[in-house]
């Protein structure tokens, strides 16, 4: 089977703290404005402490229909990996090939504007995440029903309760049907009922044969849905394999760190 995502040796380097290129004076800013496209690689002095590898030389492949969980401690590089695959940030080295339509949900309700109504935000949010206008019109009623906000559809969302807001945001996201779905801990927010609804929807999406790639701290949901998991630690792909083994390794990793620190 041909992979639907190929990640080859990607790395991401960030500059930390004040290693800034902010021009101190107006004169330099103006000169730089005309010069900067002609400057080569910004000759970085060996500011080694200033540079930080969020992701280091990761490679893996995902096959169509797989549901892959990404686990790891906070700051391990999981979100950075998702950002690279979602084209939000460019890798410093390496490449990613994606053979299908990708939809990323790094948060729900992206672009929601408080002064616009629920109805207007459905279209705005849908357009931002990548749904076509025709598709949104077709699914509009389903989205509203799923979110259970019919009565408040024309009220500005700044007046919504946090529960309504999230249900609406998730309803739009849930009706987004790309071939490859990338999720970043979107399940972490919300009450138990909401979480249950999210998981049900994900199960449904999984049954339809779509590829899902998601980051979660909730090991039980990872174990329930995924056949495969990736363990990320300090920017590196520590383990890639069956869910059971990878989660065990993760737990082992955590207890090791605990012992050392404690």
């Amino acid at each position: 089977m041909l992979p639907i995502i190929q990640v080859k040796n990607i790395s991401k380097q960030y500059h930390v703290g004040g290693s800034s290129t902010v021009a101190p004076t107006l004169r330099e800013a103006l000169l730089a404005a005309f010069k900067f496209p002609f400057n080569g690689r910004n000759g970085k002095q060996a500011n080694a402490p200033d540079l930080f590898w969020a992701v280091k030389d990761m490679s893996f492949e995902v096959n169509p229909g797989e549901i892959v969980g990404i686990i790891g401690r906070n700051g391990a590089g999981k979100s950075t990996l998702l950002k690279i695959i979602s084209r939000i940030t460019k890798p410093t080295t390496g490449e990613v090939n994606i053979y299908g339509r990708v939809g990323s949900l790094l948060e729900i309700g992206t672009g929601f504007h408080p002064d616009l109504s629920g109805r207007e935000n459905i279209f705005l949010n849908g357009a931002i995440i990548g749904m076509r206008r025709e598709e949104m019109r077709r699914k509009f009623d389903d989205i509203v029903a799923f979110a259970e906000v019919e009565r408040f559809l024309d009220t500005p969302v700044k007046y919504y309760s946090s529960g309504m807001y999230m249900r609406l945001a998730f309803a739009v996201a849930a009706h987004f049907e790309p071939e490859v779905l990338i999720l970043d801990e979107v399940l972490a927010v919300g009450d138990a009922v909401f979480q249950k609804k999210c998981l049900e929807k994900m199960k449904e999406v999984g049954r339809e044969g779509r590829t899902i790639f998601f980051v979660s701290h909730d090991l039980s949901s990872v174990q329930r849905f995924c056949t495969r998991a990736l363990l990320i630690e300090s920017g590196q792909l520590l383990q890639d394999g069956a869910v059971g083994e990878v989660t065990d390794r993760y737990l082992q990793l955590i207890s090791e760190k605990y012992e050392v620190a404690g």
């Binding site: 902010v22 404005a33 939000i88 460019k90 994606i98 299908g100 948060e107 002064d115 705005l124 990548g130």
Partner: protein, 288 residues
């Protein structure tokens, strides 16, 4: 789009399918990037729609300000430059002359100043979803373009009030509108990335815009510029464009030389800015 080869890559060397999306560390080529902008044109529509809706929900004056801004400026300039300073205005009543210059000018100036902060103020979307970043300053220009069309309609009404006939010269208007729109997108986008890289640009910009206004024939005709400076003066793309607008509205003779220079300068600037934008927005996103 996705190829449907069923043979594995290893069994047939040299035959491979094309990825729908290819992400690499190197800079992407410009033409596919512009193709990406076209593919996202629906989102551009929604971003413009969003700004219009929000503006009219949030402001008291709403549509009225779109016309009031150039009108009030016209009033000020009429009093100071025409009545007191006795500027000539090519046979057209001075208020009309000034208004006809101020309408396209406010479109351009507002596009640039709002555009310059657009990437920063939309960082909450840009850092969470991918779409071609050029859409953001382009949407700002789109909103201002609608304002421009409304203010122009008022200009036509004023012209009728003053008894100026509508002439065939107005056929040039779509060309001029397209040109000033491209210029607004170019300059707005340029400042939007500059503003991320050098945060003090935001404070300098209002001064630059003000200077640019006086360096362009908006409230005065360009024939007050001494002959020997005329060529340098017309390197400012707004010179040809503004004279073009006035000739177009009032049926005055066109200054083809200045307009040609404007077109060339505008296209060169657009090319430069697109190159700069695409080269730098990738790196600058990390600074948002």
């Amino acid at each position: 789009m996705q190829a449907t080869a069923n043979i594995s890559e290893s069994s047939v060397p040299g035959l491979s399918r094309e990825p729908a999306i290819k992400i690499t560390a190197s800079r992407a080529a410009l033409i596919p990037q512009l193709g990406d902008v076209w593919a996202h044109r629906e989102l551009l529509y929604f971003l413009i729609w969003r700004d219009l809706k929000v503006r009219y929900r949030q402001t008291f004056l709403g549509v009225a300000w779109v016309v009031l801004q150039p009108l009030l400026m016209t009033l000020v300039f009429t009093v100071f430059f025409s009545k007191l300073g006795h500027f000539r205005s090519e046979g057209v009543p001075y208020p009309l002359f000034a208004y006809a210059g101020l309408v396209p000018w406010t479109f351009f100036a507002n596009s640039v100043s709002t555009g310059s902060s657009s990437l920063l103020s939309n960082s909450y979307i840009i850092t969470k979803v991918y779409f071609p970043r050029l859409l953001i300053p382009a949407a700002i220009v789109g909103v201002r373009l609608i304002d421009f069309l409304i203010a122009s309609a008022v200009l036509i009404v004023l012209m009728m009030f003053y008894g100026i006939a509508i002439s065939r010269s107005m056929l040039m208007l779509p060309v001029l509108v397209a040109e000033i729109t491209l210029l607004a997108v170019a300059v707005g986008s340029w400042f939007s990335v500059l503003n991320i890289k050098y945060r003090d640009v935001g404070t300098v910009l209002p001064v630059l815009i003000q200077l640019w206004m006086f360096a362009s024939p908006i409230i005065y005709p360009s024939n007050i510029i001494p002959q020997q400076w005329r060529f340098v003066y017309s390197l400012n793309p707004l010179v040809g464009i503004m004279e073009g607008f006035r000739s177009s509205f009032f049926g005055l003779p066109f200054e083809w030389n200045a307009m040609l220079v404007s077109s060339i300068t505008t296209l060169l600037l657009l090319g430069y800015v697109l190159y700069v934008f695409y080269r730098w927005q990738e790196r600058l996103i990390d600074k948002l």
